[in-house]
Amino acid sequence: MATTTTTPMAFSGRPSVNWTLTFQRVITLVVILLLWQFALMSGLLPKITPGVPDIVTSIFTVVTMGNFWVGFGYTLFAALAGWLLSCAIGVVLGLLIGTVRPLDRSAALIVEFGRAFPTIALMPVMMLVLGATTNMKITMVVLAAVWPVLVQSILGSRRLDPGIVSTATVFQIPKGLWFRKVLLPSALPFIATGVRISASIAILAAVGVEVLTQVPGLGRLITLAQEAERWDNALAYLFFAGIFGWLVASLLGRAEGRLLRWNRQSDD
């Protein structure tokens, strides 16, 4: 498996490669895989479970197959489109709600409800209304992924420093500029968290819709592989779904660290 150096939440902050640790990690992985294989041979795992060599072979054959990349592309597209839409909608609405008091009070219950609502429950209904289409998938992704961004944007805009508000008022900063250059950056540390959570939810929702419907994508491939009893392929797809999720999480974590350098510095 890929990672030995940095993880989003590495417990040790050392950037240099620690060879002993890497070695121990590799050994651990080998032991886990051997245990898997052993459990399989001794009948502890269900018969249908594929062995380690089969999975590894599948991982390599799957990447050479066109339909994997097509499926992956569908998932990526829907998750990305839904995520970007969620971010745009969530940030704009959230900053508005967070700064306009009457709006904040009126929308509080709806936001609370929407956040706690398991959106995936709406899928059958969405299927009826929109059909098994990419649009339906993106709609589902937005309905699921918009809430963390919205909630975090509201929280972020509430923490705008009164000193900074006075400054912007005295220097007569126009509304638009104020929104972009004062409110948005000030709320950004909170928004970034929402954006990060929203990205994993977007992937989760996209794959979830694919698993449950005929909409093409990585999730659909997993369902098909399972129905065809190609467990090795199913696990290979799962592996790539994990890699995808992990990559997105680490990339966003890193981008956040870079973008918000000022926040960490000014916190202490």
Partner: protein, 253 residues
């Protein structure tokens, strides 16, 4: 007076939306978008004849069992990993990788392996919920004061007692926070696994009604699941606040 205006401020928009929905859908001819009155009527009917209650009890018990397993495993592993630095460092990347797998992708595999029954639902929920609980427990146990740790060592407190009376109470707020994060994930996975394949439960109710074109039932099932999810999450955060308030007052830290 002030609380009354406050309540009105908070309620008017949601109420308005529901009322709008009610009247906008009242004469709906779209087969797929039935009037809200019909949806609620169907929901009331299936509540009184017990169909929904039975579905709910099956879904919720699966959810509760899955969450329970996840909590026990997550807390136990979390305490061990929190206390053994080497192990934690070694497993860290793997935990993060496994956690990043979109939980919904696991559902077909788990159902494929464990079949249609309750067991597969419980495992799916447990497998999805264990990660936030595990990671939070690790964080919590790392937060236990060095001083407390050292004192326990000095007095030769036995290992199990140490875990039970020192680390676990110290990590408790984080553990509860982990369960709070896990709960909505568990609900989603419960719904997905039931929608994927089942013969009981709320997901089955939704699935079955939509495949037999009883559209109002589909809507009412979806709404009910949503409302249950909402009530569970809100309820848990209320309980959570209670527990934590008691916890901080008691000075258990």
């Amino acid at each position: 007076m002030r609380t009354l205006t406050n309540v009105l401020w908070r309620l008017w928009l949601p109420v308005l939306l529901v009322v709008l929905w009610w009247f906008a859908s009242a004469n709906s001819t779209n087969l797929f978008v039935p009037p809200l009155s019909r949806i609620l009527g169907v929901m009331g009917r299936d509540f009184t004849n017990g169909v929904l209650l039975q579905a709910m009890s099956s879904s919720l018990s699966n959810l509760a069992l899955g969450l329970l397993i996840a909590s026990v495993v997550g807390v136990a592993l979390g305490l061990i990993l929190g206390e053994t630095k080497r192990l934690r460092l070694i497993l860290d990347p793997y935990i993060h990788f496994v956690r990043s797998v979109p939980q919904s992708a696991l559902v077909p595999l788990i159902i494929g392996i464990f079949g249609l029954g309750s067991a597969s639902k419980i495992y799916a929920v447990a497998l999805a919920c264990v990660w936030p609980i595990l990671l939070n427990t690790i964080d919590g146990s790392l937060g236990v004061e060095v001083g407390v740790r050292r004192v326990s060592r000095v007095f030769g407190i036995p290992r199990m007692l140490y875990y039970r009376r020192v680390v676990l109470p110290g990590a408790m707020p984080q553990v509860i926070a982990g369960i709070r994060v896990a709960l909505p994930i568990g609900i989603v996975v419960m719904v997905v696994s039931e929608l994927f394949a089942s013969n009981v439960g709320l997901g089955f109710y939704i699935l079955h009604s939509s495949s037999t074109f009883r559209i109002p039932e589909t809507w009412s099932g979806a709404l009910l699941v949503g409302v249950i999810g909402y009530v569970l999450v809100i309820g848990f955060s209320l309980i959570d606040r209670q527990i934590l308030a008691w916890y901080h007052k008691s000075g258990a830290r």
